[in-house]
Structures are given as C-alpha cells and as structure tokens.
Amino acid sequence: MNEITESQNQRSAAVSLRGISKFFDDVTAVDSVDLDIGDSEFFALLGPSGCGKTTTLRMIAGLEIPSAGSLQIFGEEVGSLPPNKRPVNTVFQNYALFPHMSVADNVAFGLKMRKIPKSEISTRVHEAISLVRMTGMEDRRPNQLSGGQQQRVALARALVNRPKVLLLDEPLAALDLKLRQEMQFELKQLQREVGITFVFVTHDQEEALALSDRIGVMNDGRLLQVGTPEEMYDAPIDRFVADFIGRSNFLNGTLESAEVVCLANGQRIRVPEVDAVSIGDEVQVSLRPERVMIGDLDSAPHDSAQLSGTVDTETFLGNSVVYRVALDWMTIEVEADHRPDVERYHAGDRVDLWWRDDAVAVVRP
C-alpha cells in the first residue's frame, strides 16, 4: 500500500489531455477536457451514456481524431496519429475478437502485424494466454468461448503487445453480475501484475469505486471532477458527481463564509472548507442518507447540525431501513442500520435528524 502511494507522488503523466474537444457536426461530444493520467495508474472515466467518456477513450486510442486540443502519451504528441502508430491497445466493449481466427491467432495478431520474429511471437502469446488463465484453449474459436473467456482473450490480445497504456471500453458491461464481480477482481489483480496504466470507461459507479485509483466523472462532454474514489464520494464539488456516485440529499443554501452555509430555511450550518465555489454563491449541501443520524425528537446533540421532521415513509432493505423524513421545506432521505440496538421509527413519528459537520459536502448546484 505504501509503495503505491509513494510511486503515485513521483509518477509522470502517461496520458495528458489539454483542452481536448470533439465535435460531431453541431454536437459537442467532448468539451475542452484537461486531464493527466499517471503512469501505472488505474483510471476510470465515469458517466452516463452519451456523456463523452467513450469518445474521450477513442481519442486516446486514435479511433477518433480530436477537433481541438493537445493529446500526449508519455510526452509525445499523438493527437493526429492513426491507432496503429500509438503505444496503446484497446479492449473493446464487445471484445471485437476476430471470429475467423483461433484464440492463439487472435492474441498473436498485433505481434504479427509488427513483424515480430516467429519464435518470440509464440513465447509471448503463450505467456499472455497463461496470464489470463486461458491455457489449453488456444485452438478454440471466439464463438466457442463464454463471455468471461472472450473477455480474457481480449485482454491477452491487448496485453501481449506490452502497450504503455491499456484502454478498456466498458470492459465488464456484457457480463452477468456474478461474472462481473469475479472479473473486477481479476482485472485489478492483472493491472498490479503488469504494472501499466489502465484507463477504463464505465457507467457503473460501483465498478469505478471498486477498481480505480482515481475516477474522472463526465457529463455533457465536460469533465466535472477528478479524484480518488474516497474524494469523489466524500467531497464531491458538483451536484452531478454527488448524485451519480452514491445517493444524496441536496439542501439549498448560500455560502456565507468558507465554512458556513445558510440553508434555505434560514438555519446556518458549518461545512468543510471549500474552494470550488466562492462566498456568496448559491450552493447545495450534499448529505448522504447513511451519514444522517435519526433519533427521537430533541435527542440530537446540541453541538451538531440538526433538523426536525416527520417520518413520511419507511422502506425496509434487510441490512438497513430507508426513511423519508418530511421537513416543512423539503424531504430528506435517511438510511439507518437495521440492528437490534437501533431504534426503529414508523410513518408519522416525529424525529430529529443530525450529522457531524464534516459529513457533508458543498457542491455546485
């Protein structure tokens, strides 16, 4: 763990985007994105479909040419180079394995195109196939493989070329839930083993949180925020980010000073210091349902922010209970643990809600 944080401090940019934009006719698919992805980093581009994340990945791959901006891979400008001239390889969303070739021929394809000597090809293909644990399946055709196996072949086919950066377009989207979880684990392990930069695109926030060192959230072609999974969850700076990663309540207010927000009901609460918005701006306070405490009326500790309301609905989820608590100015969702020692409330109960000052994040509305 320490090794990783240390190397994170010193690493140079594997992929560097400066003002990268892509227009399709009148549509702006990617809008002036600035991004540095570190060497041997596992980076996720997260966003809803149509947000420009796949277009961004395809520009790094060379499958789309940027309309504007600079794109460097390890310091070399590659913006207008065709894909076959870039030190990157891609795992496509539906794997795009060549159906008329065996597993071994699929994996060997990139090496053959680069005219690597035959003996070297066979050792490297063998290595790559055993890396993804597909030994013994060399002679099969892609249509004789399961989804997970095809995924592994696609990984081997890309990794055998020893790319400087591996790009993955929704690598797990085509797999069923159980297989997806298995492959998540394998992918992470594989990245540690080969130690190269992985950039992957996903719309699945859990996948992004589980796999990546850092996440970049995109919406409408813009890159909204970049950070570690914890930063993205704990300290989102944009309402979209807070809403897309996990669930959240959004309380309208105005930033009065660096650490105080005046909520729409006139109440003042302390918030963690922010620099993404300026004092006097309209903001929203993001309050995660599981970070709100719920208790009997007047039971809230006096030194923390608190609100009072009435339980409107309750939803039992097994390990937790989700309450919708109606205040006179908004409704707040609260997720409480379901344990014998936690008080259970029902619709109509008057309750207090409170939270620690550092449990919230101030976001751009």
């Binding site: 076959n84 795009a96 159906p99 990139g110 195109m113 004789q144």
Partner: protein
C-alpha cells in the same frame, strides 16, 4: 365438423398447388433432356433414341469457339467486376465522402434499367469513343472480345456490390478498428480481417456475375464483333436460322454445366459447415 372440412380443403389445395408449381418448373427441363436424345430431325418430336446430336456438337468447331469465348469473357469480366464491385461496396459501407448518395443511386442503375437500354447505351458509347480514339490517335479499334468484357463488367459491378454490401453491413465495423488498434495498416486490416469475413459475399457475388455473364444475350449481341460470338448469342442465332435438335443438346450441356457449378458451391459450403461443427465437437470434448 365444419372445422375439419375447412382444414382438409387447404391441404388438398396446397398439394395441388405445390405439384403444379413443380410440374411448371421442371417439366420443360425434363422434356428438353428427353428430346435431346430424340432421333427425329424436328426438335419437338420423339423419333427413337440417339446420341447423334451430341456427336455433331463435338464436331462443330464454331460452337466450340463460342463456348471458349463465353468462358473467357465470363472469367475475365467476373474477375474485374468482383474486384471493382467489392471496392465500391467497401467505399459505400465504410466511408463517408462527398457524393456518396449519388454514387449509391448510380451504382444501382444497371440493375434497374432494361437490358435493351443497357445494350444500346453500350453500343453508342463504344462507337462514339472509338470514333474519338480513331480521330485523335489514329487507332482503328473494333468491337469484339474487349467490348463484351467491358459491357459485362459494367452491369456486373452493380450485382457484385449489392451482394458484398449485404455481407459488409452484417460485419461489425469494430473488428476493423480492433485490427488497426493492433498495429494493422489499412491494407493489412482489409487483408487479414475484412476480406476473410466478407469472402462468402465476395464469392457469392462472383458466382452471380459468372452466371449473368454466361447467360447474357441482349447486351452481348449489340456489342459483339465478328468472330467473338458467345454461346448464348450463337444459340439464339441458331433458332433464327431454323431449329435443329442440336439446340436441345447444347441446352442440356449448358444445364449440366450450371448444375455442376451450383452443386460445387453447395458442396463447398457443406464442407465448411461440417468442418466448423467438427471443430466445435473436438474442442467441446477436451474441456
């Protein structure tokens, strides 16, 4: 009661219909085969068994020449039309360029316009351009083998590209992107990924072109020159001169040749399919 009655009637009607269709399709062919062995001088009459007409066929040097012209025209025009038609299909399916829609529409014209119109067009084109070539370079070119080939290529490109396009449309374009991502140049991506995958379409298009070329009478008759008559044109001219039973035997030979062609392509497909199945079974056994 009324239900079963209603049901029995369509079965009876369907059977009759099916029988009628088969009779309509195959009776003339069977009749032709039988009559080609008839000893009677009148082509439509049975006069005892003979193979005389086949024997005269093999002595007829003019007929053999026309067969040779037909085969050569068909092979050369098929080759050219297949290459050009495949290129046109790729351009239309994989690239966007100015005038793509116009090109698309124009490409289909030879399929739509009547043969006679096509024939007159080609004839006028050749005579005009030969005049120009004669005036400018002083070269006297005449109609013949070359003009037939060019005309056949002209209509076959359309058919080949239609068949190949259907195949390309069914092929995932991501595969070509994957090839270029794996360091393949445009040509290598085509050679190692696109071509093997569209090969059945290209082969099918070529077979269609071959058949159309071997079959064509109208266009060929307009653009052929002396000494470059194809078999169908020759057969057609035989009928005009007065029908002899030789026509029957020529037709039977053409029939047999096309049957062999079709059977060959079916056998090839079967062999491919069973090889694929075997692979599936053997690899299934090892797991």
């Amino acid at each position: 009661m009324s239900h079963s009655h209603q049901r029995r009637l369509p079965v009876w009607a369907l059977r009759t219909n099916g029988g009628a269709v088969l009779l309509f399709l195959y009776a003339p062919i069977i009749l032709l085969v039988i009559l080609s062995f008839s000893a009677s001088r009148i082509p439509g009459q049975w006069g005892g068994f003979t193979t005389e007409w086949y024997a005269t066929l093999f002595d007829d040097s003019r007929l053999q020449r026309t067969i040779s012209v037909s085969v050569r025209v068909a092979l050369v025009s098929t080759l050219i039309a297949t290459v050009l038609g495949t290129m046109a299909a790729l351009a239309l399916e994989r690239f966007t360029f100015r005038g793509r829609r116009v090109f698309d529409a124009l490409l289909y014209l030879p399929i739509i316009i009547p043969d006679v119109t096509m024939a007159v067009m080609m004839l006028m084109f050749f005579s005009q351009s030969f005049n120009v070539v004669d005036a400018v370079f002083g070269l006297g070119i005449s109609k013949g083998f070359g003009t037939i080939v060019v005309s056949h290529v002209a209509f076959n490109i359309a058919f080949v590209s239609v068949v190949v396009r259907a195949r390309i449309a069914g092929m995932n374009a991501t595969l070509e992107q994957a090839a270029s991502d794996l360091y393949a140049s445009r040509w290598q991506a085509f050679r190692y990924v696109t071509l093997p995958l569209i090969a059945p379409g290209v082969f099918g298009g070529a077979l269609l072109a071959l058949t159309l070329s071997l079959d064509d009478v109208v266009v060929t008759q307009f653009v052929a020159g002396p000494g470059s008559t194809t078999l169908p044109v020759y057969v057609f001219s035989l009928i005009r001169k007065g029908v002899t039973p030789t026509i029957n035997s020529v037709s039977v030979i053409m029939l047999v040749a096309s049957l062999i062609l079709v059977a060959g392509s079916v056998a090839l497909q079967r062999a491919n399919a069973s090889r694929g199945r075997q692979q599936l079974q053997t690899s299934g056994g090892t797991s």
